[in-house]
Amino acid sequence: MIKLFVNGEEVEVESGKNLIDAIGAVGIEIPHLCYHPALGADGNCRMCLVGIEDGRPPLVPACKTPAAEGMKVQLDTDKIKKIQKDIMELELINHPTDCPVCDQAGECALQDYYMKYDCESSRMRVEQVKKGKKIDFGCGVVHDQERCILCARCVRFCRRITKTGELGIVNRTDAARVSTFPGRPLNNRYALNVVDLCPVGAMTSSDFRFKQRVWFLKKEEGVCHGCSKGCSIFIDHHREKYKDDIIYRFRPRFNEQINGYFMCDEGRLSYAAENENRLVEPLRKGRTATIEVALEQAVKLLKRAKRTLILLSPDLPLEQLVAIQAFAAELGADCSGYSDGYTVTGDGDDYLIQDDKAANRKGLELLGIDTTAAAFYGKLEAADCFICIGNDLRKADRKKLAKALRDTKKLVLSSHRLQSVEEADVALPIASYSEYAGSVVNCDGFLQSFGQAVCKNVAQPDAAQMVHKLGGPLGSREEILTALKKVGGPLLAVDFNRVPAEGLKLT
């Protein structure tokens, strides 16, 4: 730690950081547009110019200036305020100011800084510079060159993070614009991060474009279930009048230990599956039934069964897994976590994307649930009752499965209307991961807890609550947490009520 002065007042800040980060960490904002901690300092926007008393030079870009012991930083002088105002004026003279139709409105650095640092009327009385609009950059990124302030964050992202370098700034002077090379659109699996990185509305996502005003969105902390990396995310959702609560987008949530500032496009767009093709009513052999009738039938089916096998989804959180384990013990049933189809060999990269698309395979391991194909098929052959919870049996051998299930009663608990739901004797709807609270362990052993984000008009119980209705012993959260404690091992040390937002490394 070092001591320096900001506007004459002494503050203690971390050493080895630039002024924006060091002073920002103690709550003093230095406005900046081009600087981003993941992309380094470029120094092109000039919004972070600060005065250094007795300094040489006396005016420096804070992003490029390391915090130093005893430094006297001036932020509130008339000179600095004037510079901030002047830079904002220059940023805005050629900006279209089309906020009413701009997706960024409400989370736009230009809007925020205008209110905070400028607030003057326009003096622009000559023709503005005209540039390209709604340019398809590929990967679902749509670019507006007129809104662009040429901070080059997107360019630096493609050069430094994905190392694919699709973007560049062509031309000089006020004709400069961000562009792709002819015939070489964005082509990387993280491209949509440039939409988040863009401080203005120049980079928009064709998926989100014009769908929702951001100030209506409720932003809940969540964990991406797209793969076993479990990137920290924001779940941005909203219930329009007379409609259901739906998710509009996932955005990466900064987590130094897991995903940094970014997430992959596939995970980002996986929100759509939470809105679509949902199982909302119980089914009996493909036909709608009331929940009372369906539950009664399911209980009957379980009572008659001699040997039951429960197949669990590797996406289910620890809390639900342990409740289902207790239910299985009550039934004398076997549990399997067979989910080989969730692994796409060779799909992962050396950054965030993993081969394993399951959110909580490590959780299955911790609870000692067998995941082998041999055990699964072996027990399925012997079973006369099969309960499938959340597992979509993707890429499983359909013929082999059908043969094993020929004379088996099938009970399916599912959040989505899968084929297995239609074929089930009884299918019961359950909540999906954006609608319940839970904890998952990622591929690197980080345990993350998340709360319920979405509240559907007709809320479904989660798998733990549903098996409790079917006679499972664990009902309350306290009972479930006690059961998790009993599992022991790395989970023994976890206080599930106090898991930090950035997760907990299990040891």
Partner: protein, 435 residues
Amino acid sequence: MDAKTEVKNQEVKILSAKFDIENANTLEVAKQHGAYATLDKLFAMEPGDVIEEVKKSGLRGRGGAGFPAGVKWSFLPKDSDKPVYLAVNSDESEPATFKDRYILVRDPHMLIEGIIICCYAINCHDAYIYIRGEYTSQVKILQRAIDEAYEAGYLGEKAAGPDFRIDVTVHRGAGAYICGEETALLESIEGKKGQPRSKPPFPAVVGLYDSPTIINNVQSIASLPFIIEQGAEAYASYGTEKSCGTHLFGISGHVAKPGMYELPLGLPLLEVLNDVAGGVWKGRKLKGVIPGGSSTPVLTAEEAKTVTLDYESMAEHGTMFGSGGIVVLDDSVDIVALVKNLIDFYHHESCGQCTPCREGLGWMLKIVKKILAGEGSSEDVDLLLELCDNIEMKTVCVLSAACTMPVRSYLNKFRHEFDAYVDKGAARKAAEIQE
């Protein structure tokens, strides 16, 4: 001896010694006239002594900034394990400047000899000559001279002794003014878009390929053979106490005898214009003088009477010595049109990297065009002046200042000409309404 004959006779032949000799750009002729004669003396000296000699000579950077060359060299880190590079700035893109071109075309071996001296002094084995892309015929002459120097063994594996390699590479620009800015020049050599870097770090510490780098102007380097051959004192005997030596002055514009003149620093500007360059042409009156390239603030005819051609006097008169490219403006010059041309150039050449320059110069250009078209108001003229302040020194490099400094000088010294456009436009509009 009266003042006139004094100034006239001051023309010297140090840098320009071989300018008028036929084929002096070939090694054969150049050697006949003393090229590479200093090398024996040089290699007998310690590199540190060479730096001291250059410091003593008072040679200042001839690219325009006038920073002492020897002092710049001594900024090189002593304990670096990285190679040291020399980049010779031959971009010469400042409007009204054409001195380096004379050296490249008429005496390239003087430049190569200077490079050898500099490389020896700073322990550099790789020198780059960054030459502006428009110098298409000039680059051929330069390259031929370099080839000759390699063949004769002045460059190459054993250039400065058995273990001292010197390689010189010519790197052509692609027509961007900004690549004359030293860090943009380095970016360009590295194969990147020519955009200035933030300083610090300075190139002497982190320069080309992240290594310590010295960037000197062609004329600075070309001055070295004389300093080594004749000694620092001989060089410093020319010029004034703080502005030592001679300079190539490219005098252009409305004079009777435009051209390239080598003069010691410190001569009175007006007398040089009248006695050396033949005075204002066509018997017209002097309106003003651009003292050292388009980016230097203008001097009025009145100011031109007292200024002398050296760094100190120029600064005292609120302008800069610059590149020695003197432009004479007669009384027919329309200052508003001149300012439009000026902003047009710097707007066109802005690299577009940082906000104030990228957006601001375009705005200024449109405002001055509006004034020129008779559509401007007094507020527009005020705004133009205010924008100069808002942009200047808020940028990564000094390109914006190269525009705003002279523009401010024209606005302050010739405001009445801008007002006249405003008034004429207002009167025309009033007449139109009456009709």
